[in-house]
Symmetry: C2
C-alpha cells in the first residue's frame, strides 16, 4: 500500500510542511515517491524510484518553496509493478489541452480494462491502467474540458466501477479542482482563518500558519492518514468522492 497527499488552495501555497510529514512515513513506503505541482495550466512533476527519505529530488522539494494551488503527492510501497521510474505515481496525461494528474493507493485485482483509446500505460501497475481507463472514458463523455460540476458527475458514474474491483483510494487534478475518492483510508481538513499552529504527528515540527497566511486564504489538505495532531481531520467515507475547489469542499 501507499500513502497519498493532496492539496487544493485558493492562493498559491507551499506544501513543504505537509510533504515533510508524508516523507517521514517513507521508511515503510520506500519504493519511490512523486509529487506534482500545478502552476496555472503548467505542471511540475518530480518522481524518483528511491525513498523520499534519501532521494536528492525529495530533498530539493522539501527545501524549495514551490507555490501551487493544486498538488498531488504519493509515496509508494510496491504491490503490483516492480520498483522502477515508470511505476512511480503520480501519473500524467494530457486531455483537451490540460494536464491530468493521478495517484492511487490500493489494489485492483485482475483489472484489465479494454484500452481502445488514446491512453496506454507505460509501466506495469494496476494504478496506471485504471488512470488510462478513466481518461479514456472521460474523453468519450465530453468533447472539451467540461465544468468541474459536469466532470464530477461523470466521475461519480465511473468511479464505482473501479471501486468494485478492489481498493481504490485516488487523487485526481487538472489544475482547476482536486477530486478525492476514498475506499479504505482517506482524511481531509480545511485550514482557514483563524489559522493556528499545526504540529506534525510523526516529527517534532510545528508551523504557525497564522504568520504565513492572510484571512482570505483557504487550503484543503487530503491525506491517507492525518498528518498533524490537534487539527480536525475528517475521514472520507468508503465510496465517497469529494471535490475541492478554491480550498473548499464542494457540498
Amino acid at each position: 500500500m501507499c500513502q497519498l497527499l493532496g492539496m487544493n488552495a485558493n492562493t498559491p501555497t507551499d506544501v513543504m510542511f505537509s510533504f515533510t510529514g508524508l516523507a517521514t512515513r517513507a521508511a515503510e513506503h520506500k519504493d519511490g515517491f512523486g509529487i506534482a505541482f500545478f502552476e496555472d495550466k503548467g505542471l511540475r512533476l518530480f518522481i524518483d524510484p528511491h525513498s523520499a527519505l534519501d532521494s536528492p529530488v525529495a530533498d530539493m522539494v522539501r527545501r524549495y518553496p514551490i507555490k501551487s494551488r493544486n498538488v498531488i503527492a504519493h509515496i509508494r510501497k510496491a504491490t503490483q509493478g516492480h520498483v522502477a521510474l515508470e511505476n512511480c505515481h503520480p501519473f500524467v496525461r494530457e486531455l483537451w489541452g490540460r494536464y491530468w494528474v493521478f495517484a492511487h493507493n490500493g489494489d485492483l485485482k485482475d483489472f484489465a480494462p479494454r484500452l481502445h483509446g488514446a491512453f496506454r500505460p507505460v509501466g506495469s501497475t494496476d494504478s496506471e491502467r485504471a488512470f488510462c481507463w478513466l481518461m479514456q472514458e472521460l474523453a468519450k463523455s465530453h468533447a472539451g474540458v467540461p465544468s468541474v460540476d459536469e466532470l464530477s458527475r461523470t466521475l461519480r458514474d465511473l468511479l464505482p466501477l473501479l471501486h468494485a474491483r478492489g481498493s481504490f483510494n485516488m487523487l485526481l487534478s487538472n489544475g482547476q479542482a482536486l477530486w478525492a475518492h476514498a475506499a479504505t483510508h482517506l482524511h481531509w481538513l480545511q485550514r482557514r482563518h483563524p489559522f493556528r499552529t499545526a504540529t506534525l504527528a510523526d516529527e517534532d515540527l510545528s508551523v504557525d500558519f497564522g504568520a504565513l497566511t492572510t484571512p482570505q486564504d483557504r487550503v484543503a489538505v487530503v491525506a491517507t492518514q492525518p498528518l498533524t495532531t490537534g487539527e480536525a481531520w475528517e475521514p472520507i467515507a468508503p465510496g465517497e468522492l469529494k471535490v475541492f475547489v478554491e480550498g473548499s469542499a464542494l457540498p
Copy 2:
C-alpha cells in the same frame, strides 16, 4: 531563440558536464529551462520558468548524477508564448504506451495545424503545436510502436512540412533513439574509445572522460553550438534528420 542539448548513449551516462556547459549560456536564454531523462521506459522531466543559472531545480540537476541513455535539454529565450511553466520545453506526451519528449529551437510563422486527434497543446507556443501535430501524424501512420527505421522514414515524410514553415531545429526521443532535425544550427559529436579530456567552451571546466568510461562506451551529443573546444563537432545540414541509437549515428 533557444539552445538545445541531446544525448544518446549505449550505457547509462550522466550529462552533468554538458548541462553545465549549456547552463552557462542561460544568461541570454533566461526564460526557462528543461531537461528530460529516460530511464528505460520511465521519464524524469525537470522544467522551470526561471533561468538555468539561478533555478534551484537546475542546481539539483547539475549536482545529482542522473544516468540515462537518452536526454533532451533546452534553455529558452521566449519568441512565441509568454514566460510560463506550460511553455517550457521539453514537452512530453504518451503514445502507444511510451513517453515521447520533444524540444524545439526556432520559429514557425503562423503555424496553426488542424489538431483533430488526441494531442492538444497546453501552452501557447508554436513549438508545442508542432509537437502535437507530429504526434497526431505519427499516431495515424502506425498502429503501435514501429521500429526506429520505420519511425525515421515517417519522420522524413513529415519533417519537411514543418521545415517549410520556418525554422525548425528539433530533438525528439522515445527512449529508444534520439532524432535530431536541423534547420539553422545543430552540431553533434560522438565520444568513444580512446576517450580524452574535454574542456567546456564557455567555462573553465574539463572532464577526463577516459577515467569515467569503459572502452565499449559510445555517447553521441547534439547541441545548438559546440559545447567544448578541441573536439570534432560536426554541423548537421539544414533539412537533415540524424538518428542516434546506442550512441552512434545511423547511416
